[in-house]
């Protein structure tokens, strides 16, 4: 168990800056997900912790010690690679014993630990097999086993589930989570799947083009995204974003979309709107699950006609558990998510009701959150 701290870390590959001024702190024993679009530098960041990439600027501390000049083997971290990187010429047992062999542990102790890891991961029957005779899920387990035998200070996972099929992925998700609870070790988990990040992690770091966009708990990211990027990245289906301005007419605050008529906002519902200056271009963000149909949603509290807009249904998607409706409004296309079934087809005319108290306001120019 150890704390991991990044202090204005940067990395260049040739002329391209891959990481810029990355700063965060992972408290000891925490499970952290590192998430971002492809090519944003997640793997690079992880490899810098492991010591596989040089740290060009700044410092990385593990357990209070700067590790910039430490060789990978002296950092006491274990890494699970995306393609597992099992040693093809070694059996499962030898794969797991390798790190203990390198640490010059005694044979008896090594075997004990290897068996312990095999038991935790259910690999007892596979110990004599070679990696090429294992299924994807089994290889994944061996890669995890190789990491846990050593009981390292920090675990690094680089998209370990991305090669598995959907069902196995859900199963391994739970298994990794259980492993974390059992070992209590610091774990940093790279993924580009936001569901994985949200369900597994205690803390999520969002990276984009080598910069940190936001650090927070999954619910913080969901409830208060720091900017448009995070807002669009977290949540599925993605948050609806409408461009426009906020206007105050006769004491009534309205959202004035780029096209379409102004939408009145209940007093005090949207603190972010009060921070805008008149005429400032903004983005109004509302998650699909925070738009309801009048009378059908749970939040038809007072029956006031606030935030209702007319729309035409474009597309209906049914998952069984819930229904996604994509509809076109004067201000643009809007997606909503309804729990349960709803009988509608493309071409229907509906009223959508925007729940402003759960909406977000962003500056259209900087993308930063307001309020």
């Amino acid at each position: 168990m150890a704390q991991v701290v990044f202090s204005s870390v940067g990395k260049d590959f040739g002329r391209d800056a891959v990481l810029r001024d990355v700063e965060f702190e992972v408290p000891a024993g925490r499970f952290v997900a590192l998430i971002g679009p492809s090519g944003c530098g997640k793997s690079t960041l992880l490899r810098m912790i492991a010591g596989l990439e040089h740290i060009d600027y700044g410092e990385i501390y593990i357990d209070g010690n700067a590790v910039n000049d430490l060789a990978p083997k002296d950092r006491d971290v274990a890494m699970v690679f995306q393609n597992y990187a099992l040693y093809p010429h070694m059996t499962v047992a030898e794969n797991m014993l390798f790190t203990l062999r390198m640490a010059r542990r005694t044979r008896a102790e090594s075997n004990d630990r290897m068996w312990e890891a095999a038991r935790i991961l259910g690999l007892e029957d596979l110990l004599d097999r070679y990696p090429r005779h294992l299924s994807g899920g089994q290889r994944q387990r061996v890669a995890m086993g190789r990491a846990i035998v050593r009981n390292p200070k920090v675990f690094l996972f680089d998209e370990p589930l991305s090669n598995l099929d959907a069902k196995l992925r859900v199963q391994m998700r739970a298994e990794i989570k259980r492993l974390h609870q059992r070992l209590g070790a610091t774990m940093i988990f790279v993924t580009h799947d936001q569901v994985e990040a949200m369900t597994m992690a205690e803390q999520v770091i969002i990276l984009r083009e080598g910069r940190i966009e936001q650090v927070g708990t999954p619910l913080e990211l969901y409830d208060r995204p720091a900017n448009v990027f995070v807002a669009g990245f977290i949540g599925s289906p993605a948050m609806n974003l409408m461009g426009g301005t906020f206007e105050r007419a006769r004491g009534q605050l309205c959202f004035n979309p780029q096209s379409g008529s102004p939408i009145p906002i209940p007093p005090g519902a949207l603190p972010g709107a009060d921070k805008t200056i008149p005429g400032q271009k903004c983005l109004l963000g509302i998650r699909p699950e925070h738009i309801t149909l009048p009378g059908s949603g749970p939040d038809s509290e007072d029956g006031e006609p606030f935030g209702e807009i007319p729309v035409d249904v474009v597309l209906v998607e049914v998952t069984g558990l819930d229904t996604h409706i994509v509809a076109s409004a004067p201000s643009g296309e809007i997606t909503i998510l309804i729990r349960g079934r709803f009988d509608t087809v493309a071409g229907d005319r509906l009223q959508f009701r925007l729940n402003f108290s759960l909406a977000h306001v962003f500056d259209a120019e900087t993308g930063e959150r307001m309020g």
């Binding site: 596989l52 083997k73 890494m79 690679f81 040693y87 093809p88 390198m102 990696p131 050593r150």
Partner: protein, 292 residues
Amino acid sequence: MTTLPLPAQKQLPRRNRKKTSAFYFVTVYGGVLLLLFLVLFPFYWMVTASIKNFREISIERTLIPREVTPKNYIDLFEQTSILWHLFNTAWISCFVTLVTVILASMSAYVLTRFLTPAAEWVARISLYAYMVPSIVLIIPFYIGLRMAGLVNTHAGLILSYLSFTLPLGIWMMRACFQTIPKTMEEAAVVDGANRFEAFFLIALPQALPGVVSTSIFVFILCWGEYLYPVVLINSDKLRTITITLDALTGGGQNIKFGLLMAASTVATVPILLIFLVLQKHLVRGFAAGGYE
């Protein structure tokens, strides 16, 4: 299930496939047989001639020996020191192969893993170095080795062999390491291995097929090398097998075919044995490497 008659249209492509596969069969196997004949007939002639008597070889020219005689072999071992030459060739070839494989795999590893921009040039230069014909280098080599006092020694011969086996070995091993992904070594390094351990315990075992084929290639080159020993060695005791064979042609004036074929057979057998032994490893090595 299987006894149900198949619909007619389903049988049609099948008949077509049969036709093409018959054509395929004839061309491929015919070609292979022809090649085999071309390759194996000289061997057949060599081995049979070595057990024929003079009349059958030179006058009757029989295809199948009527009378089998060990005389050529007895003469060979009595008149020449072929066993001694065989021993010289064997140890020099083994030594050069060993040194080449060790040095080449290590340099090739460094070239593919560390010096990547420079490596392209080093690799190209080593290929060019291999392509330079020995005949061009032989005089400078002779002068250099004479200054070092290594003319007419096995050490000098070994050095001269390395001048062409190393570039070849580096080139072959580099191609081999390029196909091995780096991630396993990175995993090993994170697992606590140092660079040497990552090389010897992770990269090299995966490169085993390349090591075996490089060894075979280098060994055969050394075994059959003629130019360097003929120029650098002049005492009979230090000779290699190619020179023995050369001596038996008697300068083209008085070729002792029986002896020559017996000597050729003796010179070929070790190579065949090595092939038979290593071939198994070659196949096994391929089976053990990579799984993705």
